[in-house]
Amino acid sequence: MTNGPILQVEDLTVHFPLKANPIQALGQGILRQLKRSDPADLDDRIQHPRVHAVDAISFEVGRGEILGLVGESGCGKTTTGRVVLRLIEPTDGKIVFEGKDITHLKENQLRPLRPRMQIVFQDPHGALNPGMTIGQAIMDAFVVHGTADEAEAKDATLRVMDEVGLTPANDLFSKYPADLSGGQKQRAVLARAIILRPSLIVADEPVAMLDMSIRARILELLLALRNRYGLAYLFITHDLATAKFVCDRIAIMYLGRIVETGPTDLIFRDPKHPYTRALLSAIPVPEPGRVRERTLPRGEVPDAIFPPAGCRFHPRCPVALPTCGWEGRDFVDFLEQRRLDPAHAAPDESALGDLEDWRVAKFEARRRVREGDPAAVVGYVRSMLPQATESLANAVVGVDVDRDQVVVRFREPDPLAPKLVEGRIVECLLY
């Protein structure tokens, strides 16, 4: 036991490689030949496609602390929860649990630590074996890890059932999951986690599947258990309101990165990252007639296989700067958006051709001009740029003719690093 944090994570990265089958890979190779694109031109993201689930994140969870990991689906929060328990393999970075580096421990070395690191999933029904009684399920965890005999194990089980409110414990001990309500099942899952006296519980959306009228009781139980045992939680949720209520500190995740971390009250009172602001303004509030001003980010979370360059939020950010990472495909997105407007659709199509004809590679977008004058296309692109988002337009460093091609080039983004801003850590060029 140490007095340091329970969990320390440094530059943790998890990438999932995409496995292309050999025929597909061959096909792609032939296509590349046909299109005669130079592999050197191609983005590394395209040459080695992989899902950037978690990308170089760092955080700490203190003893008895509740850290909320908040973000939308696909942001990497669940992957983070699993990788810190070594349920999936990290690609890079370091995980320190109770002062011990566990990043590369083998499963048999991890096993003695497992009782101290537990996980609770969203779906309590799926987490319980339908053929096992509640008592067996809870006791089983004890038997697997403990050395207690049957009678001791049963005693401990009944005690822990009492603690989580599964009462009368004696009756419920021999019930099957199907006989329990959703809230009771989640209590059973919690009982199974805490019977081993862990120091850390990763709670992955523990109340998302429960009805509103009973959610509060499970959250109260989580808080009570923390107070009693000094448990630390990594509390994973998409629901900012719940996070606000239970967490001491919050880390906001977007597309594999932590964009803002800080004490809960600070983040809710005065969010700094534009994404945090967007998330907060989007939550529906049960107060009719409340006038709210909000600028919703347009579009949706991009594909984690090709995360945007620079700040990953830049294509949707309402306050993006020219230095935030604008790149070739942002230009093609801009062209696509313009075609929603019937006034632009026809002239754009005749001047710039099919969107599919544009090739993008990192900080440029280019298109071969088969007939007509490339210089005329350049002129057209230059004339339409002022109608794009100002920061995108200002990030363009050149619209030129290159042999028979038109090339739109963007500046490279300024380096992005987490910064300490008024008591919290923010990763944004605004600060």
């Binding site: 009805d211 959610r215 629901d239 303004s281 939550i283 529906p284 107060e287």
Partner: protein, 320 residues
Amino acid sequence: MTDTILEARDLTVYYRTKKGPVHAVDGVDFDLRLGETLGVVGETGCGKSTLGKTILGILPPDSLRSGSLRLRGRELLKVGPSEYRKLRGSELAVIFQDPMTRLDPLMTIRDHFVETIRVHEPNVSKAEATERAAEALRSMGIPQSRLDNYPHEFSGGMRQRIMIAMAIVLKPKLLVADEPTTALDVIVEAQILDILRDLKRAYSMSLLLITHNLGIVAEVCDRAAVMYAGKFAELGSVQDVFRRPIHPYTQGLLASTIHLQTKELRSIDGLPPSLLEPPSGCRFHPRCPYAKEICIREEPPMVEYRPGHFAACHFGRDFL
């Protein structure tokens, strides 16, 4: 009333099961006005989705329906399956929670639209159908160039916008949306809710929005119906229902909803009842902190405590 588009009187739906009838909707009364959005809110198993399915005529064949449900004066409970097919699309349309299960993975978006339009208007040419599809898609922020894409090529939010475009392409009078944003992330959810709000303005359409999320009802709806164990517990303007709720269940539900202003965690004791054997009297009595003897014995009628604000509670007057 001429501006009532949908009128339910003592609407009751039972499902037959091996264990006996399930009282999913039990004697529900309401009117939906032209251009109005009514939110039906409740927890899992309260019967809100059954209510939606009843309106759309897509209940399992052996379910029992009684009472009356009129769409622009026409008794829906007497409409046969083939008639109903004609109503769906032109008179009433639906948006479900998961658009992926409603779109055919082997059909392009163009094909979906052409089929939808031509089922109802067989004389429309393919070109005209495409033109209308493109317009509906554009109004949802999806460029025409994507007409020939397949459903899997779109993101979740885009699929839901395609579903909405398909639902409105025939300009129906009534749109039923069953948890339309539950599968979406909060920012995309807000985008879709903005779209739904604009829709009723642009198309003077009535919207029945079924959800478990009180925040959505407060933001999008004109009136709210709170459903509990197959019955309406309370019905009124969102202002009344949210700011001065009468029914103890509504009060409890509002108090237990965790939102950004929540200061204290609250919950409602007990669990929602089984609809196989609903409690006697007021169905909420086993969980109600104010329950008295009469609540166990007698079912409370829907009473208009304020103009347009109804609640089914024996002691409603105490909560005014």
